[in-house]
């Protein structure tokens, strides 16, 4: 167990390093010299470039730039171009809001993908399977914002209720329970939308894994031994098919983080996706570059958690320590 932990931790550290390098490297996409500025590119005027160069120490050698950038970031010296406030605290307060979306989305994916995948695997080629397949694929194929608008309009026109923002406006001072439920309701639609892609992909994966396991030898043995169907499926087949799911779960986190840009803009949700989008619109480059780093960091944490979960679930690793 410990060695697995160490190995994973070591890999994650390397990944962190590479992430920091890539986030930093993006800075250099901007023209280096004023003479290199593409006059047809409205996003970089000479004044902008000056500001940019100062903020990122582009006159220094590369490794100094790198170190300076991250030091400035963490000491709060790096300030937003828009309102001159330090970048990191701004981002951290928005991360909290987005975290709820990601959490709810992950929970939804977890809860929905399994039953869906297992049921369609068991009842392969049935009507249910075919219908689910088409629906699931449709959900992966539909443009996210299109689905979002359709849902919003449907819910608002039918139920005459508010779905935008963190909570209902114009109502304060109600009790805590009410407040909690209000926030939960406002969490529903955006997190469902964020989870659709994950549910779709993961349930297909569950299905594929289950199918593979079902036809394997040891399951046939278990059946031959006379164990009942349920035990065969859920105890043996599922347990072994579980492992790859956990890793896959780690891989839907980048999708959630990336998708948050559109979902948060549509739902007026004050999270990091919307912060990033608005920072780009207002050419607030310190925030944009830092956000890349923070988003990747969040994903890293997500995959780390899924690796830990993997560790819990995989008996081989657990037993490793014993041996």
């Amino acid at each position: 167990m410990l060695s697995f932990l160490l190995r994973t931790g070591w890999k994650k550290l390397w990944t962190l390093f590479f992430i920091s390098v890539i986030s930093f490297a993006v800075i250099h996409l901007a023209p280096g010299e004023p003479s290199q500025i593409d006059p047809m590119n409205p996003r970089f005027t000479p004044q902008q470039l000056e500001r940019y160069r100062k903020a990122f120490d582009l006159d220094q050698p590369l490794h100094i730039q790198y170190l300076r950038f991250y030091r400035r970031l963490f000491t709060g010296e790096l300030r937003s171009f828009k309102d001159n406030q330090p970048v990191l605290p701004k981002i951290v307060e928005r991360v909290w809001n987005s975290l709820w979306l990601f959490l709810a989305g992950t929970i939804l994916v977890w809860c929905a993908a399994f039953p869906l995948g297992i049921t369609t695997a068991i009842r392969r080629n049935s009507v249910l399977d075919k219908v689910t397949t088409v629906v699931v694929f449709a959900l992966i194929s539909i443009p996210g914002f299109y689905l979002a608008y359709l849902l919003i309009i449907f819910v608002v026109q039918t139920f005459h209720v508010d779905v935008i923002g963190l909570r209902t406006f114009g109502h304060q001072g109600r009790n805590l329970v009410w407040s909690f439920m209000d926030r939960t309701w406002h969490l529903v639609l955006p997190s469902v939308l964020g989870a659709t892609a994950g549910i779709a992909i993961l349930s297909r994966y569950v299905r594929a894994q289950m199918l593979e396991v079902i036809t394997s030898d040891y399951v046939r043995t278990a059946r031959a031994k006379g164990l009942d169907e349920d035990t065969v499926l859920y105890k043996h087949a599922l347990r072994n098919g579980l492992l790859p799911f956990v890793t896959m779960l780690g891989l839907i986190v980048p999708g959630l983080v990336g998708g948050s840009v559109i979902i948060e803009t549509i739902f007026a949700w004050p999270g990091i996706g919307r912060l990033g989008y608005e920072a780009i619109l207002s050419r607030d480059y310190p925030i944009v570059i830092t956000l890349n780093f923070v988003a990747a960091l969040l994903t890293l944490v997500g995959t780390l958690l899924s690796d830990l979960l993997y560790m819990v679930v995989d008996p081989r690793i657990r037993l490793e320590g014993v041996e």
């Binding site: 990944t15 590479f18 996409l29 047809m40 443009p143 309009i153 983080v257 890349n292 990747a296 995959t303």
Partner: protein, 288 residues
């Protein structure tokens, strides 16, 4: 699969029919008198000058906020959307093959005695997988000049991981096979071995991930258009038409529903095609 083939035909046809200064169906013709006409409506012959009337005599899919024929725009956009998908995926696949090939074949070679090539590249793949691509794409598109090429390249650069993993897995599996040993014994150089002997066997999963990649690229492009960073005018893509239309949702629903459904159908077709390929290539499932 049929849908994909049909789509190619439609895209090419669309290209032919809408290109040039006097095209058969003109996507650029502005008819201010006939804005927001619903699908299958007749043009207002008094207000619209004769040379601006729709060729088919009717607005097949309606008109948009400037009176342009939606059908013509969709046809024009088909080609552009498709090319965005293909080029982006082409880039992704090329990078994936290179990385995957190197990792698979030269995997055990150690660099600077620190780590093997394989570890390095798988590490890179892990990093690329955990980087939220959309943020990166957005940043890049925001810094660089808005152009169709920048978008294609950036999407390509952020989606090569899947291909790389498949290629690497295939090569690892096949590396020790006899025919590979034979080729090596004959003195065939490494890259040639990869290209001529190993890769053709890896075609299957690459094709699957490429098909799925095209679907993803089209979706990413439409998301970028929604945010305002998509392919700049005058090129029309379905993403552009959809995001232009969303402002008029309550008044001209066809401007949103039509491109949205079109994207849905095409992406769905590609996805199903890819899934079909995957099932076809997977021997175990075929038995059941």
């Amino acid at each position: 699969m049929m849908a994909c083939a049909l789509f190619f035909v439609v895209a090419l046809f669309g290209l032919l029919v809408t290109k040039g200064d006097q095209p058969v169906l003109d996507p650029r013709q502005v008819r201010l008198a006939d804005k927001f006409r619903p699908p299958l409506s007749l043009p207002n012959r008094q207000a619209v000058p004769i040379d601006a009337l729709p060729r088919l005599g009717v607005y097949v899919l309606g008109t948009d906020e400037l009176g342009r024929d939606v059908f013509a725009r969709m046809l024009e956009g088909a080609f552009v959307s498709l090319s965005v998908g293909f080029v982006a995926v082409g880039i992704a696949v090329a990078i994936g093959i290179i990385f995957g090939g190197i990792a698979g074949y030269y995997g055990r070679v150690r660099i600077l005695r620190l780590m093997s090539v394989d570890t390095l590249i798988t590490g890179l793949i892990d990093v690329a997988l955990s980087f939220p691509a959309f943020f990166l794409i957005l940043t890049v598109v925001a810094i660089l000049r808005p152009s169709i090429w920048n978008i294609m390249v950036v999407i390509g650069l952020t989606s090569w991981e899947g291909t790389a993993r498949f290629v690497r897995a295939e090569i690892l599996a096949l590396r020790e096979q006899d025919f590979v040993q034979a080729a090596r014994a004959l003195g065939v150089s490494g890259p040639r071995v990869i290209l001529r002997h190993l890769l053709p066997n890896a075609v299957a999963p690459v094709l699957v991930s490429a098909t799925l990649g095209i679907a993803g690229a089209i979706l990413t492009e439409s998301a970028l258009s929604f945010l305002g960073f998509g392919v700049p005018p005058p090129d029309a893509t379905w993403g552009n038409v959809l995001s232009d239309g969303k402002n008029y949702l309550f008044d001209a629903w066809w401007l949103t529903i039509i491109p949205g459904t079109a994207i849905l159908v095409i992406v769905l077709a590609f996805n199903l095609f890819g899934e079909g390929l995957r099932e076809a290539f997977n021997p175990r499932l075929r038995q059941l």
